[in-house]
């Protein structure tokens, strides 16, 4: 992003709140606060150190105001930009800018959702769109299914290839003790599951869980004084191409092409420099589209690229190492969890699913219906 300096800020703390199915009457704000408490403990700080708050949730219209009240931080610098699931990748860029401008010195980015407990409809009310609502699209699934239909038509992408994405995610999830899904999954299981929006079955579609969490950011200089190794923000980019699927400029090319290019440019890197990828996999088609648009394979080749377990734990390219939105956790806006997993991979904290010698991570957030794309490239001290 223009104006942001490679490596000027770092993520120093990261934690999930309770995830999966949370206690009765837990609120989204409770989960944000719990995530913040854990993320601050992760880096040896306390709430007294925090002077910048970023947050987003579909369950509180004025979430920054609510969080200031909850934490009693009346003078915090606040930003509750909400562009769907990629909000938190956008927040990283905004926090980096605010830290550089001296608007705050310790920035917290938080999320909380009780979507599973209260129901998807209650957690995220659909807005009436006079040009789409009459046709009863089951959103967001219908929108992604339309994009998938086009990808299959133009490039010959198959149902089995899409299922490969879900199977790889599940294999990673089986290595993650806190992942929601605990049982193995086959391509046949995906194809034979309950149809939701042709060509998708329920196994092509992200989970519906509760969850939240937080990350802590500060200047690179200050970050080096903390106990754990900082994870530096090397590149950021975003592109918002549309809000509703009928206005998407090209159903098989996402704004990830632009957001990725901007992030690579700022990081002075290219796809071959990336060790681990965390891509927003709300649907199996997402992973295919983002691998193409971020340069890991040619446009139209994504289906063939993911075949044969290439992006699974035994494959050559580690993608969605926590099990992803498909098998680990997806409370509605998944973007924060991508950042948490990338930080853990770059710190070497991932146990059985740890990617060897991971020095760089590409995090790609997606919001709306392939609408708001935001890429963040992270790296260890060795990459500065």
């Amino acid at each position: 992003m223009n104006g942001l300096v490679r490596g000027s800020a770092a993520i120093v703390g990261a934690a999930e709140s309770d995830i999966g199915a949370v206690a009765t009457n837990m609120s989204p704000l409770d989960l944000m606060a719990q995530g913040i408490h854990r993320a601050l403990a992760d880096c040896g700080l306390t709430l007294k150190d925090v002077d910048g708050l970023w947050c987003a949730t579909t369950q509180a219209r004025t979430s920054a105001m609510s969080l200031c009240e909850y934490l009693r931080l009346p003078n915090a610098y606040t930003d509750s930009t909400i562009v769907g699931g990629s909000s938190f990748e956008v927040h990283v860029a905004h926090a980096q800018a605010a830290l550089a401008a001296g608007l705050c010195s310790v920035a917290v980015i938080a999320y909380g959702s009780t979507q599973r407990t209260v129901g998807r409809r209650a957690a995220s009310a659909r807005e009436y769109n006079p040009y789409e609502t009459p046709f009863r699209p089951f959103l967001p699934s219908t929108a992604y299914a339309l994009a998938a239909s086009r990808h299959m038509h133009e490039f010959g992408t198959t149902r089995e290839q899409l299922a490969e994405v879900a199977v790889a995610a599940r294999e990673w999830a089986l290595l993650n003790p806190v992942a929601w899904e605990k049982k193995p999954l086959t391509i046949e299981d995906v194809l034979n599951a309950r149809p939701i929006a042709h060509p998708f079955t329920v196994r092509d579609i992200c989970l519906v869980t509760d969850g939240g969490g937080a990350i802590v950011m500060m200047s690179a200089e200050r970050a080096r004084s903390l106990a754990k190794p900082p994870v530096y923000v090397l590149g950021c980019g975003q592109a918002i191409t549309h809000a509703s699927i009928s206005s998407m400029p090209n159903l098989t090319v996402t704004g990830a092409r632009e957001s990725g290019a901007a992030a690579y440019r700022m990081a002075r890197m290219r796809e071959s420099d990336i060790d681990v990828l965390e891509l927003y996999d709300a649907f199996t088609i997402n992973t295919v589209l983002f691998l193409e648009d971020l340069g890991f394979c040619a446009k139209g080749e994504g289906g063939r690229f993911v075949s044969g377990g290439r992006i699974g734990p035994k494959g050559s390219l580690p993608v969605n190492t926590n099990g992803g939105g498909l098998s680990y956790c997806h409370p509605g806006m998944y973007g924060l969890f991508l950042l948490i997993e990338a930080v853990r991979q770059l710190r070497g904290e991932c146990g059985a699913r740890q990617v060897a010698q991971a020095e760089t991570a590409l995090v790609h957030g997606n919001g709306g219906v392939l609408s708001a794309q935001a890429t963040v490239i992270l790296g260890t001290q060795a990459t500065l």
């Binding site: 040009y131 149809p195 060509p199 509703s244």
Partner: protein, 128 residues
Amino acid sequence: MANAATSPLGVYLEHLEKGELAYQFSPDANAAVFYPRIICPYTGKDNLEWRISKGLGTVHATTAVYPQKGDPYNVVLIDMDEGFRLMSRVEDTPPLEVRIGMRVKFRVHPAEGDEPPYPVFTRAGTAP
């Protein structure tokens, strides 16, 4: 400056009431614009013109929604011959038999109760 007497959606719905599918045209960008707006997204000017579609288009993308209760139904994106795209459904074809590239023609689904009219499609002849 006096307030606008009409809204983009209001004009669009007035045309649908008359059985017409209206869209806007940007004279400076020489491009169709849909959904209807106050300002042209290509030029930023407020000189969008209203036009009436001939009602012929091609299925650009298609899916079938499987509701928890009831039968699957079709949702499509249609590329109209005038160069704009809209969401709709193809009514006279089983949902899974609607194909990308299929030629379709517009008709009005009339207003029902509080729900305003909206455009739906049926199969047309072969491609022009």
